[in-house]
Symmetry: D2
Subunit: 117 residues, 4 copies
């Protein structure tokens, strides 16, 4: 079983290639597929209280893990077909977010960053 992000990406690409599905994997279609799966993650939590969502039983955790995985696989595919290095892009975005949300101004607050500007 692959144990790294690169191995997983390679496996996902092989899965798609074996089924000749790359023809359907335009970024537009993949973005739709990703948000559909994100919706299935949300569905698990929609009627739970926040507290309940923090204490999932084994079955719910398994279910969330599966939907999260589907979301992740489409996210990897979007990065792939757009030529985006996901780890690099995420680190650059965190650099941006760190400036948008300086620790001394936002600590402990959930207000939107626009309120600090």
């Amino acid at each position: 079983m692959p144990d790294s992000l690169d191995d997983l990406r390679t496996r996902v690409n092989a899965f798609v290639a074996a089924r000749d599905w790359a023809q359907f994997h335009s970024p537009k279609n993949l973005a739709m597929a990703m948000i559909v799966e994100a919706g299935e993650v949300v569905e698990n939590f929609q009627w739970m209280t926040e507290q309940e969502s923090c204490n999932l039983d084994a079955e719910a955790k398994e279910q969330v893990g599966q939907e999260l995985s589907d979301t992740f696989v489409y996210l990897l595919r979007i990065a792939e077909v757009c030529g985006i290095d996901l780890i690099e892009a995420a680190n650059k975005k965190i650099d941006i977010n760190a400036k948008k949300y300086p620790v001394d101004k936002v600590k402990g607050s959930n207000a939107k960053y626009t309120e600090y500007q």
Copy 2:
């Protein structure tokens, strides 16, 4: 700059801890935040043709990379707070999908898996 998924996860967790934001990061709230970001990915593509989405200019690619990164960061946080090993969960889900969509039945087709059962 971190260069692996584990390093990225560690960095994200430290970012959250420094801002004392873990208190807002119930799985329920994080699932909402993730789908909001997924929506911002979709927004980039909504009026494009599929063909256009396959040929992004540098500015659009940068924008998609940023929104995809935000989606990814919340996805990592959901896995974190739910105690899900994302690489392991994704590999297990691909095993399931490989059985649901056998190569000899689905090759080149975009029909839903239910039609094969």
Copy 3:
């Protein structure tokens, strides 16, 4: 100002026609636009507690009303271009839901309907 759903639909269609935007309004594109707007509704609530979401101040209520309206307008457009009578479809769906969720079995419970079958 139009005061009925039919008047609103007529106004929305005229708004689109005046801008020659029907060419972009395939059901596929409109479904993307609708979920993007639904994401903007969700964004308003993502860091609120449920209790806070029940007690919106005037500014938040105005903001939610605007995003809900954008979602609604795209929903109306999907119905329009697909030739769906929204009021009729919604009533038929409520008939279905009433059978799926019989009062005597689901009263006061948030469990999914599948658990009753």
Copy 4:
């Protein structure tokens, strides 16, 4: 069968009351439920071409109508529990959009409004 938006809203509210479900219907939860249903609308179109989405067969049209109806019902509920008059809010938002997207500047173009400002 109810034939107007007001009748539908009344019917939806009665459906919820009969099941004692208002206790779960915080705006936060309803926004989650609405986007989950919007995701099910999107799912119908994710692997279709735009052209295919414009020519739904009877079964697909029925399916889209059902998911659109579920989205609509939650949208009505959000308006209800937030005290928003949906027709009035939508008309006000169209007034705003008409100013953001003046006919003489956007006619036939799918560029985002920010590009006109």
